[in-house]
Subunit: 240 residues, 4 copies
């Protein structure tokens, strides 16, 4: 089942549909979150669904857009307003080929707290020593929490820096990956890690990965595809 | 799938059935909660199901009643005792066309606490700077927690004021909307927000929306129908 | 759907099967809990399933036993060891016709805490001003936590007193009712109430029902059957 | 349904498949955990699945390996990297015939806390007066949290000692049993106990089993098979 990360567009598009279904089934993404993947042949374009719930996404609902968020073909497609998240991060991070913006339920408490989200176990090492946070108040304070303008998208990309996850205060999260499978695994692990860190904090002081443990694990997971396959089967079984 | 809010009665009645199924599936409403919608042609009448669990509601179980809670046609229908909730709020609030009274599980802890329920994210802005609370002890103290008499209904409507949600101490919640879809979204978001605020409070001081963020978001959601459609599909899939 | 509480044996036995399925589906009872109902014609006998998981109970697995726990007919039936719970409470409480002994997950934290389980809302009024607790250490201290001997059963019945629920320290709970539907509703509400009281305690001081509210609600629920019907449909739908 | 613990290999292999399905369905094991059972005829060999998610395991995916982790037949099989966990514990503990290594979600908070995991109820007596913990930092500090080398496996076996459960700091848990059914029951109870201990700690000081209660319960459960049968039916029903 292992698939090369230098994907064809066809494989990538199938995985983009799968990632939507997996992350909806795992409870990470609701009807207002969105997932994208960079086009394998045009580094300055990415694919994303038309504005719709993740669980309903199919090959037919996917649209190719430029980094400025303009549809390459279907100019009438109704798209997500927050495309600047995807375009500006793809622009800033050549190593990122897949992104999710979600309102991941267990991460919201960390979005609205000064307590750092930190890695409890090896698979969460991608969180780093403490997750960075983006605050829309630092960009403008008209009160809109969404990331809509290029300036807002750039500020978010800057807050992300070279991390793989950034919390959006009073809003949600953005998780990045080298490909859809890595991004998907990270998005699920982040939600789990948040729940476990929160529970551990009830017990008293919490032990986290050390910097050397984080560095060691970041060198790569041994089998990134195994959870993907199981999650996809579960998501499809649930759809009947 | 978008449907005008100036609805025909037929559309409204279909949505009233759907709202019952969605909110039962989402775990917001139990066998003792109730949902109503104002009649589009008679502002002094509303529709509600006969007394029965929300998941079993159908077009056939719906009854039209006056703001005094009297059935327009079927005088023998067994109705919910707490109709005064609906009648008195529709009387007091011309802008409200849909209501739910539920014992939403994650809101009960806030009903029985002096800690204010406050909005964690944009979609919860309708909660305002802090949810108001109604206490049956302020109306009478015979010990019945239900809102049954017109006087109790009026006191509840007064506690709601111009808010969209009011907590009922030691009892449950009432959520109002301009239409069934808005009310449904708010009822689900309120439950989610409560859970997240509770979790965040374990981590330390919690950051909430500012007044300007609340004001900005209250101007309107960009796509109120998207969650509705997804939730309805999920509820129907679960029913088989 | 309303059924008189002066039941025929046939109706009672059907409800005993249904109560097992409902409470397994609701997550109240695991493979080691048990439910009984007094025989409508012989006050000194009750019905209980052979030792087996609640979700698998059928009319064929039910056995009639005396208050001493001896099977009336099938002397070879493999029965639960803790039958003294049922026999001794039926002996002590003429008003009790249905019982459950369960390891209800959210009640265990209260079993092992000095914090009193108290009613958050009207339906939980049956808990009273604070749930009593039985400690096996008060009867013998050989270390067996089970309630097996008549003496242990009597001590448990004494701890229950005239309450409807008693916590068993480091073990579980017993819930009593005038009939299977009342007991079932109480067992579900107790689990929900425990979860909500625990959550509320995170927010700060918790407000509970006053004694007059408890007294008022104990006079009787207005529609005890509604939740039963909905829960039974859900349990059966889940079984396919 | 009771099956002798002196099993034939055929029965054991069927149960190894069943244990994988049960523990995946119960949420104890994810796509990266693994379960093994000692061969009934060769005490120096055990069976484990090829590296794959537990829910997909079948008789065909099982492989026999030596205590050094070498496959007896299929030298090309892709195996779990952490086989030293199984081999070294089977070497050290003649009484252990079944093992799981899992990232059991509610145990992780205890892995990363100095608060001891302790038994709340009788079925959790196997945890003992307080669960031991293994810290990979005590073996090497290159930062890899996995238990891969024989030396790491031996250190883990030493940390386990004569206990039935050992927490792995910042990683997961290992649970041992005399057979697959006992190990399965323990793995589920450990997860439940962790959740309940965590909840109880919110309420205030927590009461645990005394040493005499622990000793008494360790003499044996009265019906180890009942939960197994129910869980297996549930897991299979969920698979459709």
């Amino acid at each position: 089942m292992s698939i090369s990360f230098a994907q064809t567009r066809e494989t990538m598009l199938d995985e983009l549909v799968a990632a939507n279904h997996i992350l909806a089934h795992q409870g990470v993404i609701d009807a207002y979150g969105h997932i994208s993947a960079r086009d394998p042949e045009h580094a300055d374009r990415y694919w994303i669904t038309r504005a719709m719930p993740a669980r309903e996404v199919s090959r037919e609902t996917l649209v190719e857009v430029t980094l400025d968020g303009a549809p390459v073909r279907d100019a009438q497609a109704k798209l997500f307003f927050e495309r600047a998240i995807h375009g500006e991060i793809y622009r800033a991070r050549a190593d990122v080929n897949a992104l999710i913006h979600a309102h991941s339920p267990s991460l919201i408490p960390f979005c609205n707290s000064m307590t750092l989200l930190r890695p409890m176990t090896g698979p969460a090492a991608f969180i780093g020593a403490g997750a960075p946070a983006f605050d829309s108040r630092d960009v403008d304070d008209e009160g809109d929490l969404n990331v809509v303008t290029p300036a807002q998208g750039r500020a978010l990309a800057q807050a992300l820096g070279d991390h793989a996850l950034v919390l959006l205060r009073r809003h949600g999260v953005v998780v990045a990956g080298a490909n859809l499978r890595e991004m998907t695994r990270r998005a699920v692990v982040a939600e789990t890690n948040a729940r476990q860190q929160l529970q551990a904090s009830v017990l008293g002081p919490v032990q986290f990965l050390t910097q050397s443990e984080i560095d060691h694990r970041r060198k790569g997971s041994r089998d990134p595809d195994r959870a993907w396959t199981a999650w996809l089967q579960e998501a499809r079984a649930a759809r009947g």
